[in-house]
Symmetry: C2
Subunit: 449 residues, 2 copies
């Protein structure tokens, strides 16, 4: 304990240093803005070379929707005979383009031919824009259809960016002739970059597999990194394959894989009004169409599609706002797979777990807390926790051989594996999250653009 | 765009400033530690004068459980004839003292006399401590009973602090004769301070009401502010009244009021393994016992008890780790009160909403997003949002008269009222939250003690 005089001097010193820290933070923010922001430390070294997919052409253009001097619209064209599947945000305040796409996919149930074009813009999410939002969607669909010689119902759409502002549809319309003229089999990276908002790197993944002797390709790209004022950084994913597959089989594979990939990741637990995943299969590979979801052929396609989806999902977490750590959390011994996923997400979304990751703090007590709050069955006295191969807690207490030093050393890794066994059943699930850093707060609170 | 050389120079300048910021942050943390940490800017000017409650005596002592040089145990004694009610954490990894208290209250159903003592320690939560934890609870109960001439089953207990470490029961045992000798009707503030962990101020509240011409007092205190490594900062609440009331009536009042107060606040969405609320009614006021929860007398007691519980709950939010803003979020027009509360908590727990509060950013799009993710019914085109009296959004779009300047000015207040109408039913609820600041991350990640 210090005297009141000493305390007053310390308090004055503290106030001075706090003011200096605020000034420094403003300078750092300004520098980051001039540099275009830092790339996530978890980013891959480069965008992967995506294998072209027969029947798929892409183009990107600078329409000036909101950003200046960069591509902000992209167009994908699929050859006739393609089929589509998709999954969308479960938000009850879904954006206008999401409602449009859901209606297009619902129409497929009547055996109508699948949409043949996907047009996407960044800079404006066309979300919470009332009737004007629906009109803008219809205008862009009509213009895209005109440019490609299709009907408006053949066009899928997604938008990401600021919400509550009217979408300047005329700027996208003005780009469409250039987009249609620029379609190519090779434009993957430009397309991936055109849909970025707060992303610090473009995200692509590719896989090949032989199905009945025929080589089949799956290539796709994604954007998403959390959210930033005033942009709402939606997750958008577009994946294409030349496999031949019946529409209900493709939808079944995509729905099941979404649960294990894009619905098993979290950056900040917040759900965009615009999340959209579209998978197109052109059927251009010389093979008989896959007729059943339970078949060896479907398993092969599931494997390739799952590889691409998992890769893209993990890249989204690695680009989480302010992220410096990736954590893979595997929960076993739950009552069911669904229960395991819920426990995993309770851990992955816990601010206290995520700040512990940021601080490289082997704070397993917070994992116990998160298991407890999940609402799923767990037996406190059978619960066990591992960091990688290190047993941390078992039988309701700290593991006898565990040392804090070993735990702390493990936490210094950039990519972490956390294992939790609940000891009550056969259910298991894996989820991915990133840490919660001061930079996350900074991005989302301190520096309005 | 700058040249590569300019960019490299900017990047070097950025790296230098980032290093300086880290060094400064460490100095600031060290200063804060020497000063004992700052008090929340939302703290009340002083601890209120709590009215004594006939039949209640309290004592505090420095047992040295973990902290040095401060009180860390407190004891409450209730006169014979008192009744008790309580609510506890719903965590499935509940701490040993919580299981003990739940068993004591369950025994009341057999019309056994209510427990007459409450002993609480800070510094160690006795959570996730296996069989040793249960033994420690039994030792402390026995020692407390011996010191007061009661049976061990007459003793309620709570512990808060580090988890996973054995509770040094012998230190609490050694304090009990001093505690018993020090019992007084006036020791409220010392008791409130003895149970603090990461709290920056002690929390007390008091109310009086006349029931059938008899003045009745309700006084209580609480602790809780979030969590901090390696302590798990549980919420503990102890409230006392001299009202005469039947045990089931008291329990009904307490359970219903908990939903509207302590279960309607959130700091970081994380649930402690130890949350405990105990309400004791001594029956020393000269009145006939309240026999029914639906009666004018019960309504009067509900009013006084609700005032104290709401006051304490809001004080816990005001002491949220790193908090600089208090937000009261009222949701109306929901399908049910339960649905309104769920939507309110989805908004109150959203990291994007909470960082917007910290940044004084009137980002209503994030509120739309949080409503959408709640899973409850909402009509995007009927949704309306208000900041205080300012209409922000209505009928699915920004309100015609809304100006960003007015929203930004409102957000600079320290205490904010956010209104959300869902437009689908009669349900309503109010919840309270604080902002998410860099200081929260700092407390929970950067500086391990």
């Amino acid at each position: 304990m210090s005297s009141p005089e000493e305390n007053a001097a310390l308090a004055a010193e503290l106030a001075e240093k706090e003011a200096a820290a605020r000034a420094l933070a403003a300078e750092i923010a300004a520098l980051r803005k001039r540099l275009g922001g830092p790339v996530s430390p978890l980013a891959p070294a480069r965008f992967p070379a995506l294998a072209p997919v027969a029947g798929v052409t892409l183009a990107a253009d600078a329409a000036g929707v909101r950003y200046k001097g960069r591509d902000d619209v992209m167009l994908v064209r699929l050859e006739a005979g393609s089929v589509l599947a998709g999954t969308f945000t479960r938000s009850s305040t879904r954006a206008a383009p999401v409602l449009w796409c859901e209606a297009r996919l619902a129409a497929l149930a009547t055996a109508a031919p699948a949409p043949r074009a996907i047009v996407v813009n960044s800079g404006n999410a066309n979300a919470f824009t009332g009737a004007a939002g629906t009109e803008a969607v219809e205008r862009v669909a009509r213009a895209t259809a005109d440019a490609l010689g299709l009907a408006p119902g053949d066009v899928m759409m997604a938008s990401t960016g600021v919400i509550g502002e009217p979408l300047p549809a005329e700027r996208i319309e003005a780009s469409l002739s250039r987009l249609a003229a620029g379609l190519s089999t090779e434009t993957w990276e430009r397309a991936a970059r055109a849909i970025m908002t707060t992303d610090t790197f473009p995200k692509g993944a590719t896989a090949t597999v032989e199905i009945g002797g025929t080589p089949v390709t799956v290539s796709g790209f994604a954007k998403g990194s959390g959210m930033i004022a005033p942009d709402m950084a939606t997750m958008l994913v577009f994946i294409f394959t030349d496999a031949a597959v019946r529409p209900p089989v493709l939808q079944a594979l995509v729905s099941a894989l979404t649960e294990q990939t894009f619905n098993a990741i979290t950056v900040d637990s917040d759900t965009s009004t615009s999340d959209t995943l579209i998978v197109g299969a052109t059927g251009q590979a010389p093979m008989a169409p896959i007729e059943r979801a339970e078949s060896p052929e479907a398993d092969l396609l599931r494997g390739a599609l799952g590889t691409v989806m998992r890769d893209l999902a993990i890249q989204v977490v690695k680009d989480g706002e302010g992220a410096t750590k990736l954590a893979e959390i595997t929960v076993t011994g739950a009552e069911s797979d669904r229960a395991a996923r819920k426990v995993g997400l309770a851990i992955a979304n816990s601010p206290l777990v995520k700040t512990a990751l940021a601080g490289e703090d082997p704070n397993w007590g917070r994992i116990v807390m998160a298991v407890g709050k999940s609402g799923e069955k767990a037996d406190r006295d059978r619960l066990s926790i591992r960091f990688g191969d290190i047993p941390v807690a078992e039988a309701g207490w700290v593991a006898p051989a565990y040392s804090e030093a070993a735990g702390a050393a493990y936490m210094r890794r950039q990519e972490l594996e956390i294992g939790v066994d609940l000891g009550v059943g056969p259910g298991r699930a894996t989820v991915w999250t990133c840490d919660l850093t001061k930079r996350y707060v900074e991005i989302n609170a301190d520096y309005r653009s």
